[in-house]
Amino acid sequence: MSDPLVNAVGLSRRFGDVVAVNEVSMQIESGETLALVGESGSGKTTLGRMLSLLLPPSAGTLEIAGNNVVGLSRRALKPVRRNVQMIFQDPVSSLNPRQTVANILTEPLRNYRLGSHTEQTARAIELLDAVGLPEETLQRYPHEFSGGQRQRITIARALALNPGFIVADEPVSALDVSVQSQILNLLADLKERYQLAYLFISHDLAVVHHIADRIAVMYLGNIVELATREDLFRSPTHPYTQALLKSVPEIRPGKRRLGQVLQGDPPSPANPPSGCRFHPRCPRATDLCRTKAPELETRSATSSHQVACHHADTGA
C-alpha cells in the first residue's frame, strides 16, 4: 500500500483545560471517503479543523501527502494548503455576500498567483461546469441563489486549486432532502473524477451509510470505533456505535417507541469521566472501565475493524 494522503498520529487538541480531541490516529487514502460521525461536542469539527490545517494541534503528528505540517510557519504551510480544502455546513455564511461568484471562484487562484485574468476566468467557468452551474452564474451574487446552488458554489471554490483532500463539515445538513441528494451525488462524481479524498463530517448516519468508504465514530474527543462501512453497519461493536445505530429512526410504518437506547446526556468535555469516557452511559461498564481507558485496537490480525472497548468481544 502506498503512503496515505493524510496520516495523523496521536493528534490532540486542548482548549485551556478542555481536551477536545484526544490522541486520534487515522489515515486517509487518495480517492477514499472517511466519514467522521459523532454527536455535538464529540470533537469531530475540531479534528476536521486540524486536518484541514485551520487549527494547529496541541500534540501529535500530521502529514499531508508525505509532508509534515505540524509546527510549520504560515509561509511554509502555504504550498501544503493548496492540497487541502474545506466545505462548510452553512453556504450562506461561508460566501462573502459582497463578492460576485467570479470573484469568489478566482480568489484562490489570485492568492496563489496562478494564471492571467483571462485564464482565471476560464478556470472559474470550468469549475462552475464541474458543479453543474451555468456560466451566467459568474456575475451574480450569493444571495441570488438557493441553498443547494450556494453549496455548489462553495464546492466549486474548494476545487479551484485541484486539491487532493477535502474536509466537508456537515455539507448537506442545512439542505432539504431533495437538494441533499443532488449534492451527495455531486460529491461522489467529483471524487471519482478527481480522485479526491474526503473527510466527511456528519451526524446523520443514513447519509454516512450512503457516502462513506470507512467510518470513524467519535465520542467525547476519542475515536471509539473505526471500520469499513460494511463492517461498521453489519457488526457495530462499540456499545456507543450500537446505540447510535439503534437511535436512527427507520422508515417503516408502525407508530412505536424505540425503547431506552441511551440514558442521559453526554458528559461535558471539560470534566470527562475517568477511565473509558463512555462508562457512565454504558450498559456493559465494569470496574475496569471506570479506571482504565481502553485503547483503539484491531479486533483480529486479519481485520481492519478497530474498537476501543474493554468488552468488545462480549457482544451486544
Partner: protein
C-alpha cells in the same frame, strides 16, 4: 374530530395582489392520535401551525377557510378567548428550545407562568406542580433543575422543559414543529419516546410537523405530505410509507438515504420548489416530475381517492387507477 381545518388558504398581500402560500388545505385530527405533516422547507407546514394558534406572522393572513377546535371556529374568537385556548387547550413545541425559552427566568418560573395564568393555582402550588412536571418529562433532580436558567441545561434538557411547559395545562392538542431537528440522534430517540409516553398518559392529539420520514414513521398514525403549499397525498402511515402514489412522495422517499438500503446513486429530484410567486394554475410539481402530461400544466389536480386508494393530487395517478 378534535381539530378540523377546512379549505384553508394562507398568504400575504403584495404589489401584485394576494399571494397564496398555503392553498386549499383540509386536515382533521382525532383525540389521542398523531397526524404528521411532512414536507420540505417553504412548503407551508409551519404557517399552518401558526394559523391554528392564530399567531400568523405580521405579513400573513388567512384568506379563506375555517379552523375549528371541538367545533368552535377559532377565527371567530376575540383575543381574550384565544388566550384561554393558547397554552391551555393547544400547546406548541418548537424546534429551537433556546429561542423558545426566556433566558432571564428560571425554567421553573416559566413553567409556573402558564399554570398561574390558566389553572388558578397559587404561587406555591404552581411551583410544586412545575417540579412534578419536570419529573414527568424525565428530568433528574427536578427540585434543583427548576431553579436553573435555560443556559445551564443541555439541548435535550431544554427540549424536555419545553415539553413540560406544553403539558402544564394538559392540552387537548400539541403542535410539535420539528421538535427534534436540533437534537443529536440519541437524544432525539429519548424525546420521541417521551412524546409517546405522554400521549398515552394524557390522550393528547399531536400535530407533528417534520421533514424527516424516519422520525415521522415512528410517530404518526396518519401522514399528510405537502408540496408548495398544498397537500398532495394523505393517508394512514402505512399507506403513505408502503404504497405512496404521488410522484413527489415516491421521489422523496426514494431520495432519502437510509440504513436498510444502499444505492450507488440517490435518485435525485431535479430542479427546485417553485416560490409562491412562480406558481401557476397547473400542478406545482410538474416541472420536476417524470410523469407529467399536458393536463398537468392545464389545471391543478384535485386531492381525491380513486379505486379504493388514499387521496392523492395527481392527474396521472388518478387517471390510471
Amino acid at each position: 374530530m378534535l381539530l378540523e381545518i377546512e379549505d384553508l388558504h394562507i398568504g400575504f398581500d403584495s404589489d401584485q395582489g394576494f399571494v397564496p402560500v398555503v392553498e386549499a388545505v383540509n386536515l382533521a385530527i382525532a383525540r389521542g392520535s398523531t397526524l404528521a405533516l411532512v414536507g420540505e422547507s417553504g412548503c407551508g407546514k409551519s404557517l399552518i401551525a401558526s394559523s391554528i394558534m392564530q399567531l400568523l406572522p405580521p405579513f400573513g393572513r388567512v384568506n379563506r377557510g375555517v379552523i375549528s377546535l371541538d367545533g368552535q371556529n377559532l377565527a371567530s374568537l376575540d383575543e381574550r378567548s384565544l388566550q384561554k385556548i393558547r397554552g391551555n387547550r393547544i400547546a406548541m413545541i418548537f424546534q429551537e428550545p433556546m429561542s423558545a425559552l426566556n433566558p432571564v427566568f428560571t425554567v421553573g418560573a416559566q413553567i409556573a407562568e402558564s399554570l398561574l395564568l390558566h389553572m388558578e393555582l397559587d404561587n406555591k402550588a404552581a411551583r410544586q406542580r412545575s417540579i412534578e412536571l419536570l419529573e414527568s418529562v424525565g428530568i433528574p433532580d427536578p427540585q434543583v433543575r427548576a431553579g436553573n436558567y435555560p443556559h445551564e441545561l443541555s439541548g435535550g434538557m431544554r427540549q424536555r422543559v419545553l415539553i413540560a411547559m406544553a403539558l402544564a395545562c394538559e392540552p387537548d392538542l400539541i403542535i410539535a414543529d420539528e421538535p427534534t431537528t436540533a437534537l443529536d440522534v440519541t437524544i432525539q430517540a429519548q424525546i420521541l419516546d417521551l412524546l409517546h409516553d405522554l400521549q398515552e398518559r394524557h390522550g393528547a392529539a399531536i400535530l407533528f410537523i417534520s421533514h424527516d420520514f424516519g422520525v415521522v414513521s415512528q410517530m404518526a398514525d396518519d401522514i399528510a405530505v405537502m408540496y408548495a403549499g398544498r397537500i398532495i397525498e394523505q393517508g394512514s402511515a402505512a399507506e403513505i410509507l408502503e404504497s405512496p402514489t404521488h410522484p413527489y412522495t415516491r421521489a422523496l422517499l426514494a431520495t432519502t438515504p437510509r440504513l436498510d438500503h444502499k444505492a450507488d446513486r440517490l435518485p435525485a429530484i431535479v430542479g427546485r420548489v417553485p416560490s409562491p410567486f412562480e406558481r401557476d394554475a397547473g400542478c406545482h410539481f410538474r416541472k420536476r416530475c417524470d410523469h407529467a402530461v399536458a393536463q398537468c400544466a392545464a389545471s391543478y389536480p384535485e386531492l381525491i381517492a380513486r379505486g379504493g386508494s388514499h387521496p392523492c393530487a395527481c392527474h396521472v395517478v388518478n387517471a390510471n387507477v
